[in-house]
């Protein structure tokens, strides 16, 4: 048991040490030893994570303190680990994808002047993310939460001389801060009513507070847990990029591609999903919060998938796809199917990492060209990239047999069975998005790899498959992309998550699904007679027809759609609206308060005004001290008269 505890420590500390080595000594030890050190320590981290995972499968969970951070008032704040099925799953996914991205980076960032810095950042990210998932209390969760935000900020702005990159990273940080604002208030309510931030004690007290009300607006009592859960979910909306806080994620594509795969697809953005799943004992007690989650998730799923159809930048297509897939996970949370959300989180981590890393491989081959209109026919030059991406596209579209099929179908089923208000709307969104997902994913595949080459002659001559450090991670990640879904039986319906996820007896979606589940093969054969399958096939077929057969049609549709196309192309004008209202508003308000409040009123009128009054009085009083005797005599006489007339 003691050995296991040191292993728990080793999991986050190994990448932290790697980050310090590459960050502080990077210049001394050079690029090669920097990546050797970080990757070596990442291997240690993966091995330790897998060992912990195996141990957890034996039923050995752990909840304990590492050290006491602070004691104040009546509360103890501690740094500690909660190792159970949920965190162990996340640890394996995070460390494994991170290791793959570390290896991939050798190829992608080759010869970049910031090579060591990059390795330092991604190792630091891995540390932060592991601290987040292993936390046993809200404070440490918040620490990891903000720390991954910091590294994301640093990595989006990695190429800091690009104006777009440093704009995008600030935007990402600030939008995330808006989410964290709600998150921190949620944590505040938890501390106030539960008197602790420790998960176990909060969750055990939750049922007693189920009917507690709080008057945030005096005179209107609201359910405490609904308010708390919605505030916590605002944090998740920021981190997991849910509408209307999604605006930072597409712009985050300014960062190097490996981090788009690691941070902005596979791991960090799923932190919000993980958090809600972790808090299931709280969320289960508030149907209001679950409704909000369902509706927000539904809107994100559908609206972002629609935008993905009109993107031409290969990374942006994948980015909007990520937004839409995060919407799926959110919907699953709202349907009270937390385990399903985590399951989709896992399969998505694999197939989306492949899509991103594959896109990166294409970008290297194309000499950093990202516009799909200038690609085409890459299949014969880059077979490994093509086939791995093809598998990931099938998984993403939900074709039976591939990982994405199982998790996405489970979500659709869960929403179907859910009876929480808003589930009808969410069901419509997730179902229609199946078609759109298949359409935009295969649009990407066809535009990039099939058809006639559209790049210039020079680029075409130099096209070749990426080096092994790039294709190896792709190939390794392609394996779970195909088969991770086959675990659906044991993971969702076999009591895999144990007590890590709590289901209220009122919410029966997962139980109902379990009753109807007849094995992986049964699920696949059954799907052939259901709508999602045909929608997905229809989407692929449509993409094939539009981008392989009648390539003149997309332009005509664009013409015909007119304003609708503009609306999608400009992403519903949300960016413009925010920059006008919030960025402009804050600047105008700040300038007003400064120029008028500080400079004119306080300093101009009160402070310098007082000084001027003193000055004026002095000028007046000085007149009396003229030095002429007759002035003084005159004043004296006037004074005497006044006194006499007053007292006589």
């Amino acid at each position: 048991m003691k050995e296991m505890q040191s292993l728990y420590l080793l999991v986050p500390l190994a990448p932290l040490v790697g980050a310090l080595i590459a960050g502080l000594l990077g210049r001394v030890i050079g690029p090669t030893w920097s990546h050797r050190a970080t990757i070596g320590l990442m291997i240690v981290c993966v091995v330790a994570s897998v060992t912990v995972f195996m141990d957890v499968l034996q039923g050995n969970t752990y909840n304990g303190t590492v050290y006491t951070w602070m004691i104040t008032g009546d509360a103890r704040f501690e740094i500690g680990f909660l190792i159970d099925q949920l965190s162990a799953t996340m640890m394996v996914v995070v460390s494994f994808v991170s290791l793959m991205v570390h290896i991939y980076t050798i190829g992608y960032m080759h010869n970049d002047p910031g090579y060591q810095r990059f390795f330092s950042y991604i190792s630091l990210f891995t540390f932060s993310m592991l601290m987040l998932v292993m936390a046993n209390n809200f404070l440490q969760l918040f620490f990891g939460w903000e720390a991954v935000g910091l590294v994301s900020y640093l990595l989006i702005g990695f190429w800091f001389t690009r104006p777009t990159a440093v704009y995008a990273n600030m935007k990402a940080f600030l939008v995330n801060r808006v989410g964290d604002f709600g998150f921190l208030l949620g944590i505040g309510l938890v501390l106030m009513y539960f008197g602790t931030l420790d998960y176990a004690s909060v969750f055990s007290q939750a049922p007693q507070l189920a009917h507690q009300t709080i008057e945030i607006i005096p005179g209107s009592p609201w359910m405490l847990l609904s308010v708390t859960c919605i505030l916590l979910f605002v944090g998740a909306m920021g981190k997991s990029a849910q509408f209307p806080l999604h605006v930072w994620l597409p712009d985050s594509m300014e960062g190097p591609t490996p981090i788009s795969a690691l941070i902005h697809a596979a791991t960090m953005v799923t932190a919000g999903i993980f958090m809600v799943a972790r808090m299931s004992p709280l969320f289960e007690l508030s149907d209001t919060a679950l409704s909000v989650i369902l509706v927000i998730g539904g809107i994100t799923t559908l609206s972002m998938a629609l935008v993905a159809i009109v993107q031409n930048d290969i990374k942006r297509v994948v980015a909007y796809s990520t937004l839409s897939q995060l919407g799926y996970m959110t919907v699953a949370l709202g349907a009270s199917a937390y385990s399903v959300a985590v399951f989709h989180l896992m399969t998505h981590a694999f197939f989306k990492a492949v899509l991103f890393l594959g896109a990166g491989s294409v970008i290297i081959a194309m000499h950093h060209e990202q516009d799909m209109r200038k690609m085409g026919g890459l299949k014969k030059y880059m077979p490994i990239t093509y086939w791995t991406m093809f598998m990931a596209a099938l998984a993403s579209s939900g074709v039976p047999g591939f990982s994405g099929f199982f998790s996405k179908d489970a979500i659709i089923e869960a929403v179907h069975f859910a009876d929480i208000p808003g589930s009808g709307f969410a069901y419509f969104c997730v179902l229609s998005t199946v078609f759109i997902t298949a359409l935009y994913t295969f649009r990407l595949v066809f535009m990039t790899f099939h058809g006639k080459p559209r790049m210039d002659h020079h680029t075409e001559e130099h096209l070749h498959e990426s080096p092994w450090v790039v294709t190896l991670p792709l190939t390794i990640l392609a394996i779970p992309t195909i088969c991770a879904g086959w675990l659906i039986g044991p993971m969702l319906f076999g009591g895999y998550f144990g007590e890590a996820i709590y289901f209220s007896p009122q919410h029966g979606a997962v139980a109902q699904m379990a009753a109807e589940f007849h094995g992986v093969v049964g699920m696949m054969t059954h799907s052939l007679s259901t709508a999602p399958f045909w929608l997905s096939i229809g989407g692929i077929f449509t993409a094939w027809y539009l981008y392989m057969v009648r390539t003149d049609l997309p332009a005509k549709i664009k013409q015909a759609a007119g304003p609708l196309f503009i609306l999608l192309d400009r992403k519903y004008f949300i960016d413009e609206f925010y920059s006008w209202l919030f960025a402009g508003g804050a600047r105008a308000l700040g300038a007003g308060l400064w120029k008028i409040g500080d400079v004119k009123v306080i300093d101009g009128f009160v402070v310098n005004g007082t000084a001027r009054m003193v000055g004026l009085t002095a000028v007046l009083v000085r007149r009396f001290q003229s030095g002429y005797i007759y002035h003084y005599a005159f004043t004296m006489i006037v004074g005497v008269f006044v006194l006499i007339s007053l007292w006589s």
Binding site: Y67, T68, W69, M70, I71, T72, G73, D74, A75, F142, F143, W145, E146, A147, L150, Y153, L154, G157, F160, T161, P163, V166, Y167, M170, F173, L174, R177, V178, D180, F181, L184, L185, G188, L189, L191, M192, I214, I216, A586, R587, L589, G590, A591, L593, W594, G597, D598, I602, D603, V606, V607, A611
Partner: protein, 494 residues
């Protein structure tokens, strides 16, 4: 805990005597000697402060290291010193900062070196005196004396508009503190002829005089903190002050105001403090939000950090008047953390100012290309200023927000906006100054920080991270004192 050894006297007078010795080295021919002597004096000042921490009994609520000698017996004035869990950390912060400021001015200050270094050391001793005085007149003497060295530092080594700034600083703070003296005289008569602060704590007072005394104290302390709307001297003072002056001003002198609230307002007039807490909370929250927005629009880096200071100090006064342990301890933590972070931020601006002689954001851009090591340090401190968990900046704000939500959800709501505004003004400045392509030939000529600068920033970085990762030792020393204070305030005097 009084072992008989006059430790506090040593902590006060050693830097002052060292400062006089530095002054005695005379003109700039002996500049090098003045520097080394100042460094030795400041380090000795830090070393003698260590026993204060190691010998401090965290479980004792009473004053420790007490010294008590008659001074002016006719008026019952005593040389009465002692510290509790509130004063002790602030003394350590002061002793910690002084050597850093001396080193920071090592090459930068080249004229009248001995006077500059002497002023710094003397001020350090005076401030220790403020934090350890238990006699109102002794306190008042140190309090007013602390103005003089800072007035000189701004007025002599400051920027082009230094005279206006120095006089504004002096008059603003002097006007505030005169009313405090009036309050002391009232208390002297009410208590039957005592200037002992501890006697005042026990002195029963009706509500009406309590309110008047509270307002008299408020003017003195609010100007120092500074609270909105009496903050306008601070941006001017910072902009004109040399880097070392700004560091001392932000890291140490602002804390005098916060300390005053805890030593005088809350315990002497507890009922008035509670009666007027709504007003105090409102002013603090206006400070946090209004000043946060004003900071966003600053074109001068020092002004921006000065406004950011005001906004962060808003958390301190907010924490005090919530009357719970999270709030007061959080406010104390915030004061110490602000000491580290604002010092580091002003030093970072100083590093750039020394090279390009401009504080305008617009004159920079792409600094990271030429000064990568500096950019990394600046990033850390910028993030600490934005309250990132894992840095000291988070701890105090977190505690005060947790305290606020217990009192009223909307207090916490407004205070938490600093998460957004604080990040916005800090990172926007960082983006415009550090990121981007090299903006102009002046930036192209920049050289990265030298060993001296790395040394100072490393120490501050370690402090910021230590307090962020393990704040326990900082809060541990305050518990008993804060609990006693809260119990005292809750009992009231009516």
């Amino acid at each position: 805990m009084s072992s008989g050894f006059p430790l506090l006297s040593l902590i006060i007078w050693l830097p002052i005597i060292a400062g006089i010795a530095v002054l005695a080295t005379g003109g700039d021919r002996n500049a090098s000697m003045a520097r080394w002597l100042a460094l030795a004096g400041s380090i000795a000042g830090l070393l003698v402060a260590f026993p204060l921490y190691s010998g401090f009994d965290v479980l004792m609520g009473d004053m420790q290291f007490v010294e008590y000698h008659p001074w002016i017996e006719h008026f019952n004035i005593h040389y009465h010193l002692g510290v509790d869990g509130i004063a002790m950390p602030l003394i350590l912060l002061n002793c910690f900062t002084t050597p850093l400021v001396v080193i920071a001015g090592w090459q930068v200050i080249s004229n009248r070196v001995s006077q500059y270094m002497g002023a710094l050391l003397i001020m350090s001793g005076i401030v220790n005196g403020v934090f350890s005085s238990l006699d109102a007149i002794l306190f008042y003497a140190f309090w007013e004396a602390s103005l003089i060295p800072m007035f000189l530092i701004i007025g002599i080594w400051g920027g082009p508009n230094r005279v206006y700034a120095a006089i504004k600083f002096f008059l603003y703070t002097l006007l505030g503190s005169l009313l405090m003296l009036v309050a002391f005289i009232y208390l002297y008569r009410a208590s039957g002829g005592s200037f002992s602060i501890q006697d005042y704590h026990k002195l029963p007072l009706p509500l009406a005089p309590q309110i008047l005394i509270f307002i008299a104290f408020l003017l003195a302390f609010a100007v120092k903190v500074p609270m909105w709307p009496v903050h306008t001297w601070l941006p001017d003072a910072h902009v004109e002050a040399p880097t070392g002056g700004s560091v001392v001003l932000a890291a140490i002198l602002l804390k005098l105001g916060g300390y005053g609230f805890l030593r005088f307002s809350l315990p002497i007039v507890p009922d008035a403090s509670q009666y007027l807490s709504g007003m105090m909370i409102t002013l603090s929250l206006i400070g946090v939000v209004y000043i946060g927005l004003v900071a966003l629009m600053q074109a001068d880096m020092k002004k921006l950090i000065a406004y950011s200071s005001v906004s962060h100090m808003g958390f301190v006064t907010l924490g005090f008047f919530l009357f719970n342990a999270y709030g007061i301890e959080g406010a104390m933590v915030q004061m110490i953390s602000h000491g580290f972070i604002s010092a580091a931020m002003f030093l970072c601006v100083g590093v750039m100012y020394d090279r390009l002689h401009s504080r305008q954001i617009a004159d920079y851009g792409g600094v990271a290309n030429k000064m990568p090591v500096f950019a990394a340090f600046f990033m850390l401190f910028a993030m600490a200023n934005a309250g990132l968990p894992g840095t000291s900046g988070f701890v105090g704000e977190f505690m005060v927000i947790m305290a606020a939500i217990k009192v009223n959800f909307w207090y916490a709501f407004l205070a938490a906006t600093t998460l957004i505004f604080g990040a916005a003004y800090t990172l926007w400045m960082y983006k415009r100054v550090v990121f981007g392509a090299v903006a102009n030939p002046a930036v192209e000529s920049l050289k990265d920080i030298n060993h001296r600068e790395i040394f100072i920033l490393t120490i501050l970085a370690a402090a910021v991270l230590w307090m962020g990762v393990y704040p326990m030792p900082f809060t541990e020393v305050m518990h008993t004192t804060v609990d006693d204070l809260l119990a005292h305030v809750a009992r009231g005097k009516l």
